[in-house]
């Protein structure tokens, strides 16, 4: 997304910089259009909150991937491996701490969950570092090889999960405090979805602040636009890329924990299954754009929830149709990133 102007230029010299609001307006317009079709206000509220929660989780998983693509032009089809590994790693904490998870204490629930998330992000961050060095680095600038080798990397990771955790699904119940729903009027809103929305917003705000208020963020934004010029200014873009790759992998791990708790069941393929949605999100958001990724994730999730309720038969293709519609409107995505 663009930056705001603090000192307006004199009239007639330069166009006033304005935030492109059209993609932002799509979300409320979509929600308002869905309301009369759904018919029931409480159902609409429930579906909308569910969509926002799902969107936030997809955003957390997709945000790192879009930066990796924008910064180094790397198509990482293995990103889903970090989602799965993150979720399974969390079980190393959550299953032994079942007592804490099922206790009627918010503090104990949060402690167990916090430890699980910290471990999952640490492991997926380290895995991301190794993945970048071993799998991605040899194929810089070669898109076809990137697709093949990163998909291969994801298959290897899935098989390793089978080796370590076995081939069966692993149930992952929600912490006791996060189960159930809040009743607001006649609308039932699941507590966990509200937590997912809160975590997603925190991640988005943190990323926004880092990208816009720090020199590292400036370098990332500049690198997404013209990495060669960042090098020519004296900064090692490769180190920056490794940092972004590790952070993106850790965020995918966080997304995996949240997604696993949302589904309450873990499978080794959960990461690869969600990657279709993740790719749709980063394409319609504009490759390399974190703001576009955020709006795109919410849009994809709201459409999935509304169509799932209104027309289940077309729910499976609803996101493809959404992507076609967005790309017909904006071929470079909702917030295209300027490239050299």
């Amino acid at each position: 997304m663009t930056t705001t102007v603090t000192t307006p230029p004199p009239d007639g010299e330069l166009p006033r910089l304005r935030l492109d609001k059209a993609p932002l307006l799509v979300l409320p317009i979509l929600a308002l259009l869905a309301l009369p079709l759904i018919g029931s206000f409480p159902t609409w509220v429930t579906l909308t909150v569910a969509g926002l929660a799902m969107g936030m989780m997809i955003f957390i998983m997709a945000s790192g991937l879009t930066l990796v693509f924008g910064l180094m032009d790397v198509l990482n089809f293995g990103h889903g491996a970090f989602v799965s590994v993150g979720a399974f790693t969390a079980t190393l904490v959550l299953l032994p701490m079942q007592g804490w998870m099922q206790a009627d204490s918010v503090l104990m629930n949060l402690t167990a969950l916090g430890l699980a998330i910290a471990l999952a992000m640490l492991v997926t961050g380290l895995l991301g570092w190794a993945f970048e060095r071993i799998v991605v680095m040899p194929v810089y600038g070669q898109h076809l090889k990137q697709i093949l080798i990163t998909m291969g990397g994801m298959i290897v990771a899935e098989q390793m999960i089978h080796v370590v955790w076995g081939p069966d699904q692993i149930p992952l119940p929600l912490p006791a405090s996060f189960r159930g729903a809040l009743l607001i009027g006649d609308a039932a809103i699941e507590k966990y979805r509200l937590i997912a929305v809160a975590v997603g917003l925190m991640v988005f705000v943190s990323m926004f602040l880092v990208l816009n208020r720090t020199k590292i963020g400036l370098l990332i934004r500049a690198g997404v636009e013209n990495g060669e010029m960042v090098e020519a200014l004296g900064y090692r873009i490769r180190r920056l890329f490794v940092g972004v790759f590790v952070a993106g992998s850790a965020l995918a791990g966080l997304g995996g924990v949240l997604w696993g708790l949302y589904k309450e069941t873990l499978t080794a393929a959960m990461g690869s299954d969600i990657m279709v949605l993740v790719f749709i999100v980063i394409i319609i958001g504009g490759l390399g754009s974190v703001g576009g990724c955020f709006i795109g994730a919410l849009l994809v999730a709201l459409v999935a929830n509304y169509t799932g309720f209104l027309a289940p038969k077309i729910a499976l293709v609803s996101n493809i149709l959404l992507m076609v519609a967005v790309l017909l409107w904006r071929p470079q995505g909702l917030y295209p990133v300027a490239k050299r």
Binding site: T2, T3, V5, T6, T7, P9, P10, E13, L14, P15, L17, K215, L218, L219, R221, A222, E225, N226, E228, M229, V230, E231, A232, L233, G234, Y235, R236, I237, V337, A338, R340
Partner: protein, 241 residues
């Protein structure tokens, strides 16, 4: 002639299957403005990119301030004291003028006195300080690109065709800026096709053709010798006069 700050010896550069630089020998004296002239496709931009490490020389040697930078990484070359203004200006369109300059100032933020000095010949940058660079005019973008290169003192500036597509008024601002930089004994290697722009600015000159340096000497000699200009620069010179 002053001692050389930059010296290229027998430099060859290949881009894919193309052999672009075919044994370039070039000396850039310290504290002087050296002009690199030549027609389109002569290899001028490739020479600058090879110096900057954006393309590596396949043969030959590049010495900068006594150090061998032939195989050095671009970031290390920049940190050694070379600033680069590419032909496409390379400004970050999504960043503001301020953010572009903050990034260019590696040693903390931009120095206030230095900024005021820059604003002296590029006042538009002060006016549009918080404006996204992508919304600036072509001339203002070029000013920003040059400001970014001089926001901190550097030993050598590499500038690739700064007048390309600019209005005469903007070119006058650039001439003033380069005169000021010359007065401060900043070493500059300037690639240009606009001979009128550089004839009064340059101390020394080199002319490239087909990936080689075909002439080297003092600018004053070339500026006064129309026969030599015709021979070396041909019709491209007439087009600019």
């Amino acid at each position: 002639m002053s001692e050389p700050l930059l010296q290229l010896t027998g430099v060859h550069t290949h881009i894919g299957q193309y052999h672009i630089l075919q044994g370039v020998d070039l000396v850039v004296p310290r504290g002087e403005l050296t002009v690199l002239l030549g027609r389109n496709g002569a290899g001028k931009t490739t020479a600058l990119r090879t110096i900057m490490g954006l393309w590596h020389a396949s043969r030959g040697a590049l010495l900068f301030d006594g150090e061998d930078i032939t195989r050095a990484a671009t970031a290390d070359i920049a940190c050694a004291g070379i600033a680069y203004v590419p032909e496409n200006m390379g400004i970050f369109s999504d960043l503001t003028v301020r953010e572009n300059l903050v990034l260019a100032a590696r040693d903390g933020g931009p120095d206030t006195a230095r900024l005021e000095w820059i604003f002296g010949f590029f006042p538009a940058l002060k006016k549009f300080w918080n404006q996204t660079a992508g919304t600036l005019s072509g001339g203002q973008k070029q000013m920003l690109a040059i400001a970014r290169a001089i926001v901190e003192p550097r030993k050598l500036l590499l500038v690739d065709e700064p007048t390309k597509g600019l209005a005469p008024a903007i070119i006058q601002s650039l001439i003033a800026a380069f005169r000021e930089l010359k007065a401060m004994e900043t070493t500059i290697l300037l690639v240009e096709q606009n001979f009128n722009f550089v004839r009064s600015l340059g101390d020394s000159v080199a002319v490239m053709d087909d990936g080689r340096i075909v002439h080297g000497g003092q600018m004053v000699d070339l500026a006064e010798d129309r026969e030599l200009q015709q021979k070396l620069l041909g019709l491209s010179l007439d087009a600019h006069q």
